[in-house]
């Protein structure tokens, strides 16, 4: 048997290694936050949230239309992706043991592995080419294609967590299977599914590549699904690759806005998930 001293040394060594791991994980996140906040906070005025972009050299201006555009795009994507994704997830959990289930599961796996730029090209082919114009609809379609697989898998996980006993309790009361799935199983899994929806929405809101040639961009307000639309991510991209100093500053501020938006959604999802967990452990 080795001495206590040796064991103490081994313990200290691994504690340091683990500590370093934590530092390497936290430092990039902290520096990213610091960089975005320090460079972006200066431009963060109320008017930045509601104004249209100003031309180069002009003071003021904002990303109001891009924020609205992001909400429009994510909203359109959600309208398509939520029913499809959640429906597929419920199907996989309840009836997914057969061949059809295996096919759907395989499809969602493949779809979740497709790079987002490829999804953008698909949406371009499906929506932009036939409509002969860039549109919010095409962008929403691209985002929806990205949301469906994650939603389906997460919904399946949460629906599978619903105890069999609850299904049986409902069925034994003479409640038809479809009402049981909808009113008992989905309702019991609702907390988890809402968390999954928020995370999927947050992820979609942060996508740039699939929007570049679908929703394109727009210097003005747009609330029509059939028109090109600005979005925070594409706006940040355009500002960042421009040669102008004041646009660079705006890119940082817009990035901060996007971070707040996405971070807020993630935080909300975590709070909901925690409440759900506490509810379950009571």
């Amino acid at each position: 048997m080795r001495s206590m001293r040796w064991r103490g040394l081994v313990n200290a060594f691994w504690t340091v290694i683990c500590g370093l791991g934590v530092v390497f994980a936290v430092v990039p996140l902290a520096s990213l936050l610091w960089l975005v906040v320090s460079r972006g906070a200066a431009g963060l005025t109320p008017s930045f949230f509601v104004s249209l972009p100003a031309p180069v050299g002009e003071p003021g201006g904002g990303v109001g239309n891009a924020i609205a555009g992001t909400f429009l795009l994510v909203g359109l994507a959600s309208v398509v992706a939520l029913p499809v994704g959640i429906g597929a997830g419920v199907f996989l959990a309840e009836k997914g043991d057969g061949k059809a289930g295996a096919l759907v599961r395989f499809t969602t796996e493949v779809l979740s592995g497709v790079p987002s730029i490829v999804v953008g090209i698909v949406a371009y082919g499906l929506a932009v080419v036939p409509m002969k114009r860039f549109s919010a609809l095409a962008g929403g379609l691209a985002l929806a294609l990205l949301m469906v697989p994650t939603l389906a898998r997460a919904t399946e996980e949460f629906v599978r967590l619903v105890p069999r006993a609850l299904r049986e309790a409902s069925l034994a009361l003479g409640v038809p299977a479809w009402r049981t799935s909808l009113l008992v199983v989905l309702r019991t899994a609702a907390g988890g599914i809402i968390t999954a929806v928020l995370l999927a929405v947050a992820r979609a809101a942060g996508e740039t590549a699939p929007l570049l040639f679908t929703s394109l961009n727009n210097q003005y307000w747009n609330f029509r699904p059939d028109q090109p639309t600005a979005s925070l991510t594409v706006q940040i991209f355009n500002y960042a690759i421009s040669p102008y100093e004041d646009w660079h500053a705006k890119a940082w501020t817009a990035a901060l806005v996007l971070l707040i938006l996405v971070g807020g959604l993630n935080l909300l999802a975590r709070i909901l998930a925690r409440n759900k967990m506490m509810e379950g452990s009571r």
Binding site: D97, P163, A165, L166, R167, E168, A169, S170, L171, A172, L173, G174, V175, P176, R179, T180, L183, V184, R187, T188, A190, E279, G280, R282
Partner: protein, 305 residues
């Protein structure tokens, strides 16, 4: 099965075992070297009322019921009759088919992939295994209480009781039914001040009585209970057993239990299952004091199981 509580049954059985000198002329091949042989008796013929309650049309008539889970033949040729407003207990060791038998009675066996049943299952004389019978409608007539209390965690006490109505789309206030069934389930006094609390805030025994109230709210005729007290402490168990006694006045009850004393206390008729066979069915007192079959005697005296 723990040996300790069995002393009560053993004591009960003293007189039976004293009848050792009974003529063993018709002793069967299954005689054991330890216990005196009993005359082998053929299983009850289909349609023959096996209960002491005579003259009434049986609530449930089971004839040659076989059940499978995939290729596993879980229940072999079971025939028995359940009289109305009586308690029938199904006893037997784990995996003996008693739960499968119970689940066939409201076609819950179909929920397990590969689960199927053949034979005749008559409810008031009508076959309930028929293809034209909607299991959803059947389950409103034949309710079920499960081994572990399973109230709906997202619903209040009140909504749990009314769940069978609400989930089927019945609108409006169900307060009257909620109060009546909670009283029937001997739970009203304990929960009347917290009907809007989460069902999970109740104790295990209260949750199980809530589940009984929930089953009663859809006004079934038959109540199936799958080891309803096995997850409960002795006091809560006693309450459930008292409740079964009261419910018998109105409902036909079939209860599966691991606990032989419980079967002896609550039932009028006892069916002993072993390895998927219905070994013996008869009036509870006889099954526990003077069974026909050696295997039944060995089981109720605690020789195995």
């Amino acid at each position: 099965m723990t040996p300790a509580p069995e002393s009560a049954v053993r004591d009960n059985l003293e007189p039976a075992e004293a009848k050792v000198e009974r003529p063993a002329a018709r002793s069967s091949a299954s005689s054991s070297p330890v216990l005196p042989a009993r005359p082998a008796v053929a299983p009850p013929r289909p349609g023959t009322p096996s209960s002491t309650v005579a003259g009434e049309q049986p609530k449930l008539t089971i004839e040659h019921l076989n059940a499978w889970y995939g290729s596993n033949h879980a229940l072999h040729d079971v025939s028995l009759v359940v009289p109305p407003r009586s308690v029938t207990a199904a006893i037997g060791p784990s995996g003996c088919g008693k739960s499968t038998f119970l689940r066939c009675l409201n076609r819950m066996h179909e929920l397990v992939p590969g689960g199927r049943a053949e034979g005749k299952l008559l409810l008031d004389g009508k076959d309930l295994l028929g293809r034209e019978v909607d299991p959803v409608v059947l389950r409103r007539r034949v309710g079920m209480v499960f081994q572990r209390p399973n109230p709906f965690p997202t619903m209040s006490v009140r909504d749990n009781v009314a769940a069978g109505l609400k989930l089927n789309g019945a609108k409006g206030s169900h307060d009257e039914i909620v109060e009546r069934t909670l009283r029937q389930a001997a739970l009203w006094d304990e929960v009347k001040d917290r009907l809007d609390a989460s069902a999970l805030s109740l104790s295990g025994g209260q949750q199980q009585r809530l589940c009984i109230a929930r089953a009663l709210a859809v006004e079934p005729e038959v109540l199936l209970m799958d080891e309803p007290a096995s997850a409960l402490d002795p006091i809560a168990t006693a309450k459930i057993e008292d409740l079964i006694h009261e419910l018998k006045a109105k409902y036909t009850i079939v209860i599966v239990t691991h606990n032989m004393q419980q079967a002896a206390r609550v039932s009028d008729q006892t069916a002993f299952f072993y390895m998927g066979d219905l070994v013996e069915v008869g009036p509870t007192e006889r099954i526990f004091t003077n069974p026909d079959q050696q295997r039944t005697e060995d089981y109720v005296t605690g020789k195995f199981g």
